[in-house]
Each structure stands twice: as C-alpha cells, then as structure tokens.
Amino acid sequence: MAKPVVALEKVIIRFAGDSGDGMQLTGDRFTHETASFGNDLSTLPDFPAEIRAPAGTLPGVSAFQLHFADHAIATPGDAADVLVAMNPAALRSNLHHVRRGGTLIVNKDEFTKRALEKVGYAADPLDDGSLESYNLNAVNLTTLTVEALKGFDITKKEAERAKNMFALGLLSWLYDRGTEGTKAFLRAKFGRKPEILAANIAAFEAGWAYGETTEDFAVQYEIAPAPLPEGTYRNITGNIALSYGLIAASQLSGLPLFLGSYPITPASDILHELSRHKQFGVRTLQLEDEIAGIGAALGAAYGGSLAVTTTSGPGIALKAETIGLAVATELPLVVVDVQRGGPSTGLPTKTEQADLLQAMYGRNGESPVPIVAPQSPSDCFHAAIEASRIALTYRTPVFLLSDGYLANGSEPWRIPEVAELPDLHVDFATEPNHVDEDGQPVFWPFKRDPETLARPWAIPGTPGLEHRIGGIEKADGSGAISYDPDNHDFMVRTRQAKVDRIADSIPPLAVDDPDGRARVLVLGWGSTHGPIAAACHIVRSEGGAVAQAHLRHLNPFPANTGEVLRGYERVLIPEMNLGQLWMLIRAKYLVDAVGYHQVRGLPFKATELADQIRELL
C-alpha cells in the first residue's frame, strides 16, 4: 500500500557515523541521486583530521550534510531537518546541528551500555526522554541488515558493513530518490567481488523496502525539481571543478599544463585529479616538499608550460620565497591555496579564509601578487581559468584562494560549452625586440608591453633570444643585473603598476540590490557568497532592504570598488577570519566598514548573518 506523500520545498539531511561507517560515501551517493533528480543542492562534508580515530569515539565521527530544494539555494543549510546517526558518538556530536522538531534516524543496535559510556551518556538518550522534542526513529539498522543478508556467502562483519547501504536505501525511499544510479555505482565499485556487490545491493533494497513497509515511517516526502536555468547539469565539488578549470585553461591557451605539488589536506585531490588526465598532456609531479613543488612549477613556466602549484596555508608559507622569485622573474604561475584553519597545522580538514593577508603580503620586499577567489564549488572552474588568464597575460604569479568548504562541498553545475570559454592564446617572443647602441637587433627580456606592462616570454629553444633571468634586481629593459637606486625604485613601482593595471581587464564590482533602496551593503569574498546571499534573502523576505556585493578579485580590486562602497551608509564585511578584507578595504578606501568574524572551521550560518544585517538596518 502506497503511503501518503507530503511535498516539501527543501530538506537538510545530515549523515553522521563512525569514520569507518562510510558516511561520506552514503552522503555522496544520496547527493548524486538528488542532483540527477533535478533539485538544487549544496553539500558540506565534515570529517575528522585523523584517518581512523578509535571506533565509537567523538573524535572519530564523520558527517556529511546535504541541503536540497525545489528552488535555488546557496548554502549547505544551517540546521538539519534529519539526522542519521549510526552510533551514540554521532548522535552526541551532531544533535546540536538538528533543528528542534527535526527527525532523528538512529541505529539502535549501537546504543549499548559500553558505547554510551564511551561518549559520556549517563543514560540511554533513546529512552530517557531527552530527545522528546525530536521525531525519534530508533531502528536496528545493523540487525536488519544482517538479517537481510542471511543467504549470502559473506562474513558477519562484511554483512554489518553494508548497514550504510541499508540506511541509504531507507532515506532514498523516504525522499523518493532514484535507485539506478546507486546500483550502477555499486556495480562499478564491487564489480570484481560479486558476493559483496550482491550483498550491498540487497542491503540497499532492503532499506528501501523497510521504509515502504514499516509503520515507523508514515509518510514519504517529495521535493520537486528546482527551476534552474536551462542546460545540462552535473554535480561537482570545488577541487574537481578547479582541476577541470586548469585543464581547460591549458587547452584554451595551447600550453601544456604542469603541476608541481606536495600532498596536503585539503588540496591533495587536485593533485590526484590532474594526475588522472595525462591524455591532455598534463604533467603532475609530486615533489619532495612544498618548496620543490613550486620550484619545479616555476622551472616549467620558464620552459613555456602553464605552470601550477597547489597547496594549503602551511605550504604557502614554505613557497613564499619562490613566489617572490616568480614576481622578480615575471613568469606566469598559478598558486592554488585551498585554505584551512590555521595557524600552523591548525584544523586541516576545516575551512577558513585567513590566508588573504598571507597571499597579499606574505613575502619579503614589495612583492605584489594578484589574487582571485572562487565563490562556490562550481565557480572554482571559472576562477581557475581567470587566474590562468591573469598569469599568462601579465606574466605574474597569481593566487587562487579556494578553501576547505569549496574544495569538498558540491553543487549542481551547468556544464559550459567549450566555445563559451575565453581564448587564452599566448604569443611567445620569437624575434629581437630592441636595437643596441651599435644598431644590432637584440632581445631585451624586460622591455614591456606598453598596455599590460607584461614582459616578453621567450622560452629556451628560441634562437637569438638567449637571456638570463633571476632574483637579483634587473635593469629596466635590458635585464642586466642592476644595483642602481633609481632603477630599483622604478622596477618596484613598475611591478606594482603592472598588477594594478589588471583592474582594467576585470569586470566592475556588481551589486545585488533588488529594489535599489538598500542603505546597507554586505561585502564578501570567497566561499561566504552562499551564506551571505541566503542571509540577504532572509532579511529581504522580512521586508528589509540590503545589498550584496562579492569580490572575486582581491588584488587588484575592481576599479569601481570605492564608488560602490561610498554608495552605502553602512558596509558589513563578514569573513571567516579576524577581519582581513575588512582591514584592506578600510585602509584603501577609508570607508568605516563593520566586520563580522568567525573562525570556527565551519561556514557561516545564514541565520547568524541575517542577525548581523538586521542590526545595521
């Protein structure tokens, strides 16, 4: 008998379990089904830095939050409507993420006396009344799974391990998700182990059937597809989008892609992804350290590659000297910093945007470096192309500042047509560009393009253009070593002017102010775009007027930035740091902006930001 179906506009589900319970995989599968169903969505994996903390402990809990809706959404959501908790530790550490009245689906089998004590529960929360304000569903997930798999030739342990598929089946029924994608995925994953494959599919189907038949779940929910712009979509994470953006930039420029890197959380997935695409001529080198990673990239840049290094904040600290060399030698280089909580090792798996000033100033001498920051997971694709464009056009290192939330978070992405992407074609120098005192044609490596101030890029192998570059100050034009005071002053100012001139090539800062009467502007950068947009939406739905502007280019700022800021009575700058953009904006534009700062390793909650905006209205 079919159960009644209730239509919902949006749902936030949080899967939580032990690191070994496969929660990231479960969340990821549910996300894929939801994406292909056509909902808009946003995800936030929240996992521990430890690979496998002891089972059943609080530090070992791994969670995955998914927000999906029948309309466009911008964030993984504030409070979850549903929490799937695979053990007491998962419940304990995630309950505060659930809204009052929300649904709890808990694996009752794991709520043993020992397990409860391990995480500090004096009494069993499943029957001490402490969860009264939630819709509690205690299900024997493990037992049900093992029973469903009785006929299979697998060990009890292997059967128990399939309980995440049972849970996924149950949730898939509850929200009427498709099943074919997950089955196809399992076939690809366990193709070589037919018994395990069959068991996982059986567990998944048993979970679905359980939802359909048990009286515990009285209704099924339906979330209609979101009316997104026309096009072909896929789901994509920030690190994958960023990797694809780099490959696209290589194809669009006609230059081979070279990645010099060293593994570091949360940037390693870019190294992994790019190393899988050698058919595009991509060279990925895992070097001995962060310094060698960028060193090799700079060497490849000298040789004419589109050169990239990828890392996180601690790696940037190590690469700083080589970034300075790239500034001095004026070679194109994309430096990807997937920011994480700092200082030092900090919170490797958590997000933060506290490397802005490091990117801006973290080098010796006057060493300006352009900065580009993506605003959502899929935007990492376009931001990577933009960073490459600036590097190649202006012959400069460029920072691409992603963060842990963008890197691992995902959202639907309208796949662009290749023809829509910009042309990044580069002309290498092939001829002498100057005439010396004797009237002989010569090559001057520091004779600049009058418009961009970029120097010519003459790659080894080009006859007649042999030249030497390096970290010692060079004479304007000829590029000979120069200790001349006026020349140094001139070169310092010219390198700065070159970076400043990039502003001529970037779009003006756009403001989202639907009815044009806002007197408060919220200015952000990077991954806070979603929460800020959601907060503005909340305030506007209450009748408040607020404008939003988001900086994609942080160095230089778009040319109209000062004008935009001066158009508002109050400017609020929320950041996941202690006020880094805030300081830059105040210093440069003498605008009395207000900051709002959190460094909790998690994205902002829209409701918190809405409170901040209301205070200024």
Binding site: R283, A297, G299, P416
Partner: protein, 353 residues
C-alpha cells in the same frame, strides 16, 4: 674517455647545431665579477670551451643556479639561464627538464647551496634521476656571505662564525650522492682543465642526473684548501685518479695502489710491486652495486686530503624520470587525445529545459 657525443642518448632529443660553435659563442656580454684568482674562472673557461663539443644548439642549453659565488655562473653563459634562490636550483631544473626534453639542463651550485640549504632537493634530484647535470663547486667555505664554515668544511676550522673552531662534522659529497642512489657521480679539480673537461664530457653523455663535484679554490676566504691535491711533489701521493677498467694505481711512479682486502674492504697499498700488481682493484664505474664506489669515496682523509679519489666513481644506466613521465603521457594519449567537452560532461548528467 672517448664518447661519441652527438649520439649520446642524454642529448638525443636536443636539436643539433647547424654550424660548429666555439667557446666564444658561449661567452655572454656580462662582465665576470668573481674575485681575481677565484677558481670559478677556470671552471667557466673549461665549460665554455667544452660545450661546443656537444654540437647542440646554444639556445637549447639552460643553466640554472641557486645562490652563492658559483651561482652567478649563468650570467656569464650566452645560453638561456636562471639565477634562482638559495638551494632550489635542482627543483627548478627538474620542472624545466621534465617539461622540455629538447633542452640540455645544467645546474650550477656550491657546497652551501647544494648540501646545506638545498640538501633535500639535491638528494631527491639524484634519487629521481632527472636528466640534469649538477656541477657542485666545492670550496669548503661560504664565499658570498664572506667566510663562514660550510657543510664541507673540515672539523675544527676557524672561520668568522666559528672563532673557536667548527664543531660541525663535514659531508663527503660523493658519499652523500652515492647514498642518495645517484646514477652518475664524479669528482674533479678546477685547476686540472683536461681532467675537468673529461669528467664534463662523461657527465653530458650520461642519461639521468649527473653529479660532478669540482674542488674549487676560494682564494679570498679559504685559499689553498685543495693544495695537497694540486701542488706538484705532494699531489702524486694524495691523488687517486679513477679510470674505468683500469687497476687503481697512484703515487709518484705508480708504486701505490688500491687493493681489496680479504674481508672485502678496500685498502691502500704503498708498494704494489709486493703483489706484482695482481692485487690491485680494477675500477668498475658501471658496477650495479654502489658499495665499492662508496668505499673509494671513503679512502680520503678529509683533513689532510690524503688518498682523495677523483674521476668517475659511478656511471650506471637507470630509468630516467623524464623518459618515464613522457612514456606515461604517450600511453595516456594513445587512447586518443583529451576531449575537454567530454571531461566537463562527466558520466552523470541531467538536463533542464
């Protein structure tokens, strides 16, 4: 050491010069600024005179250096070049060489640059066997910073930073390189042009990373550091010249030699006539195992320089990183070139509208 260089595999992908070149072609217009009398001049001249032999296009040769007196070298070469940052030249050269197999890439470094601040990159370049040639100018002192002890300075050395004598134990660069899995390891001396050029020739022909340690005199801060290996009358008893396939003999009349003891260790024999020359160890630079080469590197007394071996310690064929990488790219491309639109689309899409 006669090698048919134009077909040397290490240079097989580097375009050949159309016309013969001379040393003059390799001199840049920059004024050379080392201290008068510095050993670097002799090395520069030797390299400039040797490069035409390679017969490859000048524009396909690149010198990459770090920081230090020796690292000014690229400015004086009329080739492509980069004077980089302290210790990092092997890393930069690795990126250049692996992305441009048509280049002949040389690293110029010093004892401080390669073995102190850049130790990590030095080790890993040797291990990885990238097709780069590393010229390590060893003067046992920091010259550019005006006279502090270096990682090859002898223990007890009095310098600006060690007024009571250095308490650091020095590296033996050859031993370090052999321990780091280097496929080519050689040592030579700035003042012996013939030997220097011979070693350069062998290094250039070697596929993979070649380390050439060059004993170089810093006449300002460490003058005479290598005199026991240079002064006629003394050097014969100190210097052991290694020649592949030859029994190892040295001394004024070749009366000394190196032999293998019963326990397998090498030892110096003061009078080879005692064993009729039969006991001498025949040097095998191509030996698969590096242990004998290592033992040869340990014969020297690091303070007196007695029994210092020069020449090619090791020269073995080992897969070259650049080639392995190129093969992987070729293999990936064999299934057809990358399809960007296909990549972006992926396998799991849905359509709206």
């Amino acid at each position: 050491m006669t090698i048919d260089l134009p077909t040397a595999p290490a240079l097989s992908l580097v375009p050949k010069a159309d016309a013969p070149q001379t040393a003059k072609d390799f001199k840049s217009d920059q004024e050379v600024r080392w201290c008068p009398g510095c050993g670097d001049y002799a090395i520069l001249a030797a390299v400039q005179s040797f490069l035409p032999e390679l017969g490859v296009r000048r524009e396909n040769i690149v010198f990459v250096s770090g920081i230090g007196c020796s690292s000014r070298f690229p400015y004086y070469m009329n080739t492509y070049g980069m004077h980089s940052i302290h210790g990092r030249a092997p890393a930069i050269a690795t990126g250049l060489s692996t992305s441009r197999p048509d280049l002949s890439v040389w690293v110029v470094t010093g004892d401080g640059d390669a073995l102190s601040i850049g130790g990590n990159h030095f080790l890993h370049a040797l291990r990885r066997n990238v097709n780069i040639k590393i010229l390590l100018f060893n003067n046992r002192i920091y010259g550019l910073t005006k006279g502090q002890y270096s990682p090859t300075s002898e223990a007890g050395k009095i310098t600006k930073s060690t007024p009571m004598g250095s308490i650091d134990y020095p590296f033996n660069p050859i031993s370090v390189a052999l321990g780091a899995e280097a496929s080519f390891v050689a040592r030579t001396i700035d003042s012996d042009r013939k030997h220097l050029v011979g070693v350069l020739r062998a290094a250039a022909a070697h596929e993979g990373t070649a380390l050439v340690e060059i004993y170089q005199n810093c006449n300002i801060f460490n003058d005479g550091a290598w005199d026991p290996l240079k002064d006629a009358g003394i050097r014969e008893d100190n210097l052991i010249r290694l020649e592949h396939g030859q029994p190892i003999r040295f001394g004024r009349d070749g009366q000394k030699g190196v032999a293998r003891r019963d326990d397998g260790m090498l030892m110096v024999v003061d009078d080879v006539s005692e064993c009729g020359g039969e006991c001498l160890w025949v040097h095998d630079a191509h030996a698969a195992e590096p242990s004998t080469a290592f033992a040869l590197s340990r014969l020297a007394d690091f303070t007196t320089l007695e029994h210092t071996a020069i020449g090619v310690f090791r020269d073995v064929a080992r897969p070259v990183y650049d080639q392995l990488l190129a093969q992987q790219l070729d293999r990936a491309a064999a299934a057809g070139p990358g399809d960007l639109a296909g990549l972006l689309r992926g396998r799991d899409t849905w359509t709206i509208g």
